[in-house]
């Protein structure tokens, strides 16, 4: 029966070619959009690797104060903010704060080993950052007073897997702007936001000996739950009072996260709307063509009914035929889709492609069945006597 259907469609491949191409394209569209959605969704469900609620980013702008004085003023400001009621901890950071879309990339290597690796994110933080961002540690510890004088770093799990795949990393040396000893390994750290892949990260310690201001213009402040506008106003006026000509820009990380989510979601939503429209288009077309075909095949169907085919048999045949057409289209589509992981087109994990293929194939079959249901029932309802008289 199935073989018979395949022969039937194969013999009419020219008449069905357009339908096959359409289903093929619909599958490719579903597959590509599906891959992106599955990829984003899997990332969204993974933990961020830090806590952002109740953390504010305070960008400092020293105005026209001479460079030599900036560090001292910043230290005064940090002391002042720390002493405010409602503030729990303050850390100095580069401008690459979480959700800011700002990056500081550099190569990190093992000593005496020159291998070209993807560059990782470099974060400059100090002892208080462990409290501010509440970074979960998988091994070792966050840096603290004990490390004064000895250059140390903390790396993320992704960095550990890249550099020390099958060994412990704590206690080993890495080269990142000079040799440094690893004291801890954090969970995957995704400062680029909820939808981004984790990227290898290395955290450098800003000790007290680092008296620069230039690349550490931002403060991250953990505040008590419920702190709001009043504290914000207090901080900004204190900054202005300590450093004449200084100004600040205070943004809660939660606000930056919302902004980033919106920036990522808007194009995704637009893509999904476009995709839905294309698929509805295909569905309507499929439906129309099937309906038209049934009308043209009335005499054939009438004849079959007259020689004893049941109504169920007729609608089964119509459904079977369109499913075979869909299978031809899908086979072509799978050939194309298989190229994506092989050539690494979208640059996502192979498992994502497999899921997307399954989803897209399932959707295409569902779509064809839904579109064929009404025309096949129409076909089953053809009265043999009426159909044959027309002929």
């Amino acid at each position: 029966m199935l073989k018979h259907l395949f022969t039937l469609i194969w013999n009419r491949k020219q008449a069905n070619a357009l339908l096959i191409v359409e289903i093929f394209l619909a599958f490719v569209v579903l597959f590509v959009v599906g891959s992106l959605l599955v990829y984003r969704w899997q990332n969204y469900r993974a933990p961020l690797g830090f806590a952002y609620e109740q953390v504010w980013a305070v960008d400092l702008d020293p105005g026209i104060q001479p460079k030599a004085e900036r560090y001292a003023t910043q230290q005064q400001i940090i002391q002042r903010i720390k002493s405010l009621p409602g503030v729990r901890a303050v850390t100095r950071s580069g401008s690459n704060t979480p959700f800011s879309n700002s990056h500081n990339l550099n190569n990190t290597e093992r000593p005496n080993q020159r291998v070209l690796r993807p560059s990782g994110n470099v974060y400059n933080l100090d002892d208080a950052a462990g409290d501010v961002l509440q970074l979960p540690l998988e091994e070792g510890r966050w840096f603290d007073r004990r490390d004064d004088g000895a250059p140390v770093v903390v790396i993320s799990r992704d960095m550990k897997e890249l550099l020390f795949p099958n060994e412990t990393a704590v206690g080993k040396l890495v080269v990142s702007n000079g040799k440094k000893r690893i004291v801890g390994v954090t969970a995957p750290f995704r400062a680029d936001g909820d939808f981004a892949d984790p990227k290898q990260a290395i955290f450098l310690r800003n000790g007290l000996q680092d008296t620069t201001f230039e690349h550490l213009e931002t403060l991250l402040v953990r505040v008590q739950p419920g702190a709001g506008g009043a504290l914000e106003k207090q901080i900004s006026s204190d900054i202005r009072a300590i450093g004449p000509g200084w100004s600040s820009n205070i943004t809660p990380l939660a606000e930056m996260r919302d902004k980033q989510l919106k920036a990522v979601l808007t194009p995704l939503v637009a893509l999904v709307i476009t995709c839905v429209f294309l698929i509805v288009n295909v569905a309507l077309g499929l439906f129309g063509v099937l309906w038209q075909t049934i009308n043209q095949r009335r005499s054939e169907i009438g004849l079959r009914r007259a020689i004893g085919a049941s109504a169920g048999g007729i609608s089964g045949q119509i459904l079977g035929e369109i499913l075979v057409v869909a299978t031809f289209g899908l086979a072509l589509g799978l050939l194309v889709a298989a190229q994506f992981p092989l050539l690494g087109v979208l640059g996502v994990r192979a498992g994502v492609y497999a899921t997307a293929m399954l989803l897209a194939a399932g959707l295409v079959y569902l779509l064809t069945v839904v579109c064929a249901l009404y025309p096949s029932r129409l076909a089953a309802g053809i009265q043999p006597a009426v159909a044959l008289r027309e002929e």
């Binding site: 506008g229 294309l278 288009n281």
Partner: protein
Amino acid sequence: MLLSYLKIAWKVLQRRKFFTFISLFGISFTLMILLVVYALYDHTVGPHTPEKRVDRLLFVTHVGLWAPNSQSNSNPSYSFLNRYVRPLRTPEKVSIATGGGYAVAYVGNTKLKLSQKGTDGAFWQVLDFDFLAGRPYSVQEVGTDARVAVINESTARRYFGAVAGAVGRTIEADATGYRVVGVVRDVPAARTLSTADMWIPLGLAVDVNEPNYFGNCMAILLAPSAEALPAMQAEFKQVMRHVPVQDPKEFTELRVYANTLLGFTVRELMTDNDGPDDGVAWFGRVALGVALLFMLLPALNLVNLNVSRMLERSSEIGVRKAFGATAGRLVGQFLVENIFLTLLGGVLGLALAAGVLALLNGSSIIEHAQFALNGRVFAVALGAVLFFGLLSGVYPAYKMSKLPAIQALKGGTN
């Protein structure tokens, strides 16, 4: 002849309402999406206030110091631009402004976060802002670091309550008072290089004596005419080749480019954005490819529908053939019918796009956005409609003309 074709087309449209609906739905929604995307594009890089003369403008926004294994990239400083870009000979005018920053103002107890841009006097001559009241600050006022400001409409509303009385009064931002000299219409946020809530003289916003190449500034170059733009580009490249690299121990090459507004926007999109190629050609190819691919599915769908609808009309075709209509005639008729249908869908699509854009404008998803369907967008729509009509009409028309008269008369398929 044409009139009778159109009459037939109209009758055919009414005969099977469902099919007409499918066709119109496909055409109008495809066009709507294309139009909305184009309107977004035009809104971002098309000639609109304040970059009305966009075909004469170049922007210098980034300086890169490059060595094979380390790169450093930032906005240029005032002194870099003042020293190497301002003296160029081909530009009619050169303006230097800051990249942007924020200032905080308070109205009673509510905080206003104002985006602030420091500019020189030439800024107002290079770009064309719509002044609702007052005037721009002058070159002299910038030279003396006068505490004056131009603000936008919504800041005037939020701070002073109305546009009318704002000029001459004082706005206090970051605890500094500025006398408002002018109020301009809001600049959409998509115009990242010129938008701000408040513009102040450059010297108040940035240290003009900072010798470092890296800073927080940008330059805008205005060519005397659109034809002179390539010459301006060439001179810029020529001069930049001789600028010494800062920190020659660490870096070997200085990378700085003058981009068109489109070039600047495309560079932001690209991951590798500090090469000499601004990526506009690549962007054009990709955009065209995506648009064609996007239109392919609805077009195929229409071809499919048209083919099966044509078979329905095979007896009509048979009669016309029997009375001597040539294949060319029939193809012509079918194309006219199809283009008529496409145009109808085009009108619907235009209306839908206008609706969507009005919704987008009203929703304030994008700050100060004013999307509109202008002449350029309309021309693109018309082009797309005709292309679409031909794309989906040619194959069925060809197939119809090939139908043998006898078989067609009998009502056969093929």
